[in-house]
Amino acid sequence: MTEARALSGKKVTELTVDAMRAGEIAVADLRIHPETLERQAQAAERHANPQLAENLRRAAELTSLPDDEVLAIYDALRPGRSIAAELTALAGSLADRGLPRCAALVAEAAEVYARRGLVRLPSGGTAPRTPR
């Protein structure tokens, strides 16, 4: 088995049935560590997939966010959920909290959504799309 650690810092080898039965294992002990994701990102780069590497690095950043917030950001990025300014603000907050890659993704969404009518209108609807 590898030397990997869980997000909590516990060694993978400390995850045992006995530890689970003793109530010593929490969900954070089952979560992947950002360093593991970084190591995988490097492997993806070596295997000609820089996009997979970028994804794994965004994922490494996201390990610091709680589940609810991850789901909330996903929802904010769905079409017609946010106005551009909200997305820009979200990007800023992510950047401030040490998630630069996720911040860049959200900032880019803010720009493109505004141009492509994917933002929420003040009335609550979605802007008409520009015909191609």
Binding site: A4, V27, R31, Q40, A44, R58, L77, V106
Partner: protein, 734 residues
């Protein structure tokens, strides 16, 4: 002809206006790419200011500008030839494809003929070892049946199990049931519960599932938005799965845009090319495509099946995992659905099916797959016929019964221990034996819903499942589940095309890269796996046949009674039998006992006033020789030859061995009446009377397929009894 099942299928007139066109629409853009100061400013004819959201995401994240000029300048045919040329390594195709636009790859793949797609697939898939995925669902979301069926699927060799629900709220229960069931039969089977994105992510976060694939992409912005997502929300979701250590692939495929009336007059392959380019741009490790829900739309137009396979190859060109469709029943015709699937199984894919329905068709809550539980024997035979690895193996019935029992019992124990539901012994027994949910009788579906709510509301995680398994007397299953969690935390299974083998080793693009480079290279099943593929349960050898023949043996029924003498009575007709008759061979191919056949022949002879005499000719297995020798020994000059398998003839002493008087050749279809007629006709020949013409019964069944292997084994039993020195021997029939 109209009654053939193929005529139940819908076939569409090709129509670009509706997007009903497979490989190339007149409205598809010309491939094109302009790079200004390192930035893509034109993509397939669209200038940057007009990019829709999909174009934008692909242009900014999906194309390698450093190789774009080279890739786009390659003529389509030259590019296509690289795909099939074994001298060009996979890595070179991956490098070039990274710089190609969706329209460019569309044109390149449209050049390939079907067998060339197969060559490309064999070379370009990421993982060396092919694999397979199962659908495990049922109409009732019955946990015990799900557990038993997941165990069955894992026993057959499926390395991913995808479940889903007819009742959305049941999802956590289904995930738990499949998790337990699969672990009974194998380590390291990945489990998915396909539901709404957020719900699916939540199951993964709790460790109840280990991969996801229902993250849909579409080829036009309108349909993408109608699907309530954008490339950015999907990119974020992709990262969200990885952040919780979950394998994930996206899903796309021909026909989806057509069905949603949003194809914008583009060909299916071009729209899918946009999806695949986007999948790579998002950073997803793989794609489930090849039609999927729209497979029958593609199949309705000319070149449709070619298009479906081209989609898979395109995924491979983008250096991604291919989960190659074949998961929707695309035809009512067995021949058409086989024709759709076979080329992919032959070439080998990361996953030949993105859901082989390992359950009954009616229980498949995704809709019937292209292959289903009732097709597993056919699939196993196809693997063996072609010597290819489709990921499955034969499971002995005792093993199936064992794993189903343990799965259902463990599932019941865990549900009971956690206070989720109480199931009766009878329910467990029915789930073990059930072919499908119709065999369960009345079940309490509300109990399932209650259990699922409890799992969700109490926030139960895989830790609770492990504890329950250990507490309930399943320490091995608990250990197995923990080992899987530990292995997943290493992250290696987040790489392209990753699966765990049964020793929990990750096989992926990184650890098990495809090295096909022409004949004599690439994946070859290891000897043990080869034996698994070959050893289908229907295979029979000579010793199997010897045993089955011995069960019909009646000792003393055909007694040797010394050397046979030359007959002199003009009514004497010798019935010559082959060497193993009454020794190792007791039953003809028709199922008639050899002594009964002899009785019929004797009775026929007697009816016409002749006397039959049974003589074994132990020096040959050749029926012509036996018949002729019998005729020469007969007082009448007419003889009958009978092989143990039931083939019979009438011979005359002055004829050449192969020139007999009457031949009853199709042994499996010869009836007692025909054997009696044979005897009567032999007597008529002996008397110089006119024989009654015998008509060999003909059959439209695959008689040869059914009996040839048995014939070969029977003849081997006969051959082993041949003694060149043996003279004719009289036999007495008691």
């Amino acid at each position: 002809m109209d009654r053939q099942r193929v005529n139940l299928d819908g076939f569409a007139v090709e129509n670009a206006e509706l997007g009903l066109i497979a490989l190339r629409s007149p409205y598809d853009p010309e491939p094109g790419l302009t790079i200004t100061d390192g930035r893509i400013t034109e993509l397939d004819g669209v200038p940057e200011q007009d990019f829709d959201s999909i174009d934008t995401f692909i242009a900014r994240h999906g194309i390698d500008p450093s190789v774009a000029a080279e890739a786009m300048a390659l003529p389509d045919v030259a590019f296509a030839r690289l795909l099939t040329d074994p001298a060009v390594p996979r890595g070179e195709i991956i490098r070039l494809s990274a710089g190609a636009t969706p329209a460019k790859l569309t044109r390149v793949l449209a050049v390939l003929k079907p067998h060339e797609l197969g060559m490309a697939m064999a070379k370009l898939r990421s993982r060396r070892t092919p694999s397979n995925q199962a659908h495990v669902t049922n109409r009732l979301d019955d946990p015990l049946l799900l557990a038993a069926d997941a165990a069955t699927a894992a026993a057959f060799g499926f390395r991913e199990i995808e479940t889903t629900v007819p009742v959305l709220d049941d999802a956590p229960s289904n995930a738990v049931a499949c998790l337990i069931g699969a672990a009974v039969a194998s380590q390291g089977v990945l489990i998915q519960c396909s539901v709404e994105e957020a719900a699916e992510l939540e199951l993964g976060m709790r460790g109840l599932t280990s991969y996801a694939e229902t993250v849909s992409l579409y080829g036009t912005e309108q349909v993408f938005t109608d699907g309530d997502d954008t490339p950015w929300s999907k990119a974020f979701l992709t990262s969200a799965y990885a952040s919780r250590g979950m394998k994930m692939r996206v899903s796309s495929g021909a026909g989806a845009e057509v069905l949603m009336a949003g194809a914008e007059r583009k060909s299916m392959l071009y729209l899918e090319a946009r999806c695949v380019a986007l999948a790579r741009a998002l950073g997803a490790q793989g794609v489930q495509n090849g039609g999927i829900d729209g497979a029958s739309v593609a199949a309705a137009v000319p070149n449709g099946l070619r298009e479906l396979m081209a989609e898979n190859v395109m995924v491979m060109m983008r250096n991604l995992e291919s989960c190659s469709g074949n998961d929707a029943l695309m035809s009512e015709s067995d021949m058409r659905r086989t024709s759709r699937t076979l080329p992919i199984v032959l070439a080998g894919s990361d996953f030949a099916f993105s859901g082989f329905g390992s359950i009954q068709r009616y229980d498949n809550m995704f809709g019937p797959s292209n292959f289903n539980a009732e097709d597993i024997d056919d699939f196993l035979a196809m693997q063996r016929d072609w010597g290819v690895d489709g990921g499955l193996r034969t499971v002995p019935p005792e093993r199936l019964a064992d794993v189903r029992r343990e799965a259902a019992e463990a599932c019941r124990a865990v549900y009971g221990y956690l206070g989720l539901a109480d199931f009766t012994d009878e329910h467990v027994a029915r789930a073990i034996d059930a072919a499908g949910s119709k065999d369960l009788g009345e079940t309490d579906t509300l109990a399932v819903l209650t259990a699922a709510h409890a799992i969700r509301q109490r926030g139960l995680t895989v830790v609770d499942i492990v504890t329950a398994l250990d507490e309930c007397g399943y320490p091995d299953l608990a250990e197995r589940t923990v080992a899987f969690l530990q292995a997943r935390l290493g992250g290696d299974y987040l790489q392209t095309s990753a699966i765990f083998d049964e020793q929990l080793t990750v096989l992926s693009l990184v650890t098990d890269p495809n090295d096909y480079a022409g004949p004599g290279t690439g994946y070859e099943p290891a000897p043990e796996r080869r034996r698994e593929i070959d050893a289908i349960r229907q295979a029979r050898g000579v010793e199997d046949l010897r045993e089955s023949q011995a069960r019909f043996a009646v000792p003393g029924l055909l007694r040797p009674a010394g050397a046979a003498a030359q007959g002199t009575d003009p009514r004497d007709v010798v019935i010559g039998v082959s060497p193993a008759v009454g020794r190792d061979v007791w039953r003809c191919l028709s199922g008639l006992a050899v002594p009964n056949v002899l009785r019929e022949i004797l009775a026929g002879l007697e009816e016409e006033g002749c006397v039959g005499r049974i003589v074994r000719f132990g020096d040959t297995v050749d029926l012509g020789q036996i018949g002729l020798a019998a005729a020469r020994l007969s007082g009448s000059g007419i003889g009958i030859g009978l092989q143990g398998k039931g083939t019979a003839l009438i011979h005359r002493r002055d004829l050449a061995p192969l020139a007999n008087l009457e031949l009853y050749s199709v042994a499996p279809t010869i009836t007692p009446e025909l054997y009696r007629l044979l005897g009567a006709n032999a007597a008529r020949h002996a008397k110089g009377a006119t024989p009654d013409p015998a008509r060999n019964p003909y059959s439209d069944e695959a008689i040869e397929a059914r009996y040839h292997t048995t014939v070969i084994a029977l003849m081997e039993l006969e051959r082993r009894r041949v003694d060149a020195a043996a003279g004719p021997e009289t036999l007495v029939l008691s």
